[in-house]
């Protein structure tokens, strides 16, 4: 199963409510993925203050991070430690392995933080302090593990490029083959998770110069299996489904926001849903909304 929720705000006056809305949406898809959860939030001034580079880490405490990275500020969010510093993203990412060799980087960017953990998603949202988060975009995932272990590393979103995030409902059949191909091209992996391969593939295509639409079309050509994907970047919000489209997806759109969820009940919590245009994304069609 797995549950997906995502919210891309168009109306700035809703930004103070981003975390509260995302928490309510996540609470509606708990049964779809009760073993772990994760969110990515774009534009929260506490997690990603303007002008500072942000990395989200697993395997370290905030105190360890602040000692090891002088000048950095670390924020605890369940299993995740979010660290921001007055550096470039490249410099902060380069400093982490040397200063914190045990840490796993689960997200990086200038405007985005990734928070992950294991256990019931409602408890996790509380532990993340999600209801108090503000910003312009957020994605969330509740996981029912099928392809790899229940660990914070295995929880979604998978964020492997600056500001990029992928959440996945389904399972890729040929991920081992594609992982080998990407490894041969120098791409490094953090886990054996099939969804990470999707995220690495997209990041690789974007790096090679493809835009998000093209990267997702290439993913449809190359990947075999079941997938409904919600992919976000520093300015975009995109949805794509496989040709069979058995993994559910609904999009709702108003002048104030675009939202995507596995089930309608997660959209019903949004303000103005009664006037939204609601539709199911067509199989193998790429939908992208830009800020």
């Amino acid at each position: 199963m797995c549950g997906i929720v995502g919210l891309h705000l168009r109306e700035p006056s809703l930004e103070p409510r981003l975390g509260a809305l995302l928490t309510a949406m996540l609470g509606q898809v708990v049964e779809r993925g009760p073993d772990s959860a994760g969110v990515a939030v774009y534009g929260d001034p506490r997690l990603s203050p303007p002008g500072r580079a942000v990395v989200s880490l697993l395997g370290v405490t905030p105190a360890e991070a602040e000692v090891a990275l002088p000048g950095a500020v670390a924020v605890a969010a369940d299993a995740t430690t979010v660290v921001h510093a007055d550096l470039s993203i490249a410099d902060l990412l380069a400093a982490v392995p040397a200063a914190l060799p045990h840490a796993t980087v689960i997200g990086s960017g200038t405007d985005m933080a990734v928070l992950k953990g294991t256990g019931n998603p409602v408890r996790l949202a509380e532990s993340f302090g999600l209801a108090g988060v503000t910003g312009w975009q957020g994605v969330g995932h509740t996981r029912m593990a099928t392809e790899s272990a229940v660990t914070p590393e295995g929880a979604h979103p998978f964020s492997v490029g600056p500001g990029q995030c992928l959440v996945h409902n389904g399972s890729f059949a040929n991920h081992a083959t594609i992982r080998r191909e990407l490894r041969a091209r120098g791409v490094e992996f953090d886990s054996e998770n099939d969804s990470e391969v999707g995220a690495r593939f997209i990041a690789h295509q974007l790096e090679q110069g493809a835009d998000l639409e093209k990267a997702l079309r290439l993913l449809c050509e190359r990947f075999d299996g079941f997938y409904t994907l919600l992919v976000s970047t520093g300015d975009s919000f995109a949805v794509v489904r496989d040709a069979i489209a058995c993994k559910p997806a609904l999009v709702a759109e108003t002048a104030a926001w675009v939202a995507m969820a596995s089930e309608y009940r997660a959209l019903d919590v949004l303000p103005g849903i009664e006037h939204a245009r609601i539709f199911e994304p067509e199989p193998e069609e790429v939908y992208v909304w830009r800020r």
């Binding site: 089930e263 009940r265 199911e280």
Partner: protein
Amino acid sequence: MATLIDLAESPVRALNQALHSTAATSWRVRNPRGAHAVACGIREDHTVDVEGHVGYYCAGMNQHATVTVHGNAGTGVAENMMSGTVRVRGNASQSAGATAHGGLLVIDGDASARCGISMKGVDIVVGGSVGHMSAFMGQAGRLVVCGDAGDALGDSLYEARIYVRGTVKSLGADCVEKEMRDEHLAELAELLKAAERDEDPADFRRYGSARQLYHFKVDNTTAY
């Protein structure tokens, strides 16, 4: 006067238990808000009006009741229905009417993928269009589509009959267009009337099974 059950106050289980009773024959359900299994397993001749969007398996296993959803329905609306009528005023998600044995399912809007998958005797009338693989492995019953049909319509069809007014993106394995004879025009007219629709049966085309997949062909032995 209809008995009102508000799902903002009562859980779905309480609603479905109440609908198993004969305390009333007319029911209104408020605030479904995408809940699953609303009005499932009814065995009485009730009339149920659901005021809003429902989640998965609404009116599943229905017998005798008339259930109207004044909104959209999620996956598997009226799945395994045996008799009665289920009407969706909005759109329906995938697998509408899956494996249903009898009764009438009417979807005023569109139905998405696999509408009528493995249908076993139900009649389904869709006012809009249906998604890919509709009537997949359909065994009996009739599927009427007033709009268009997606890819692989009627794939691996047994004996269900399909009528489509608009375009068919592609036919599935063993599904072929068939001649529209008088008896087909007559049954289509009846189905459209039952669904309270005013399309002209003469505008539809009929599709059915070529019956080439019924038996194993010895020529294919080497394929396995």
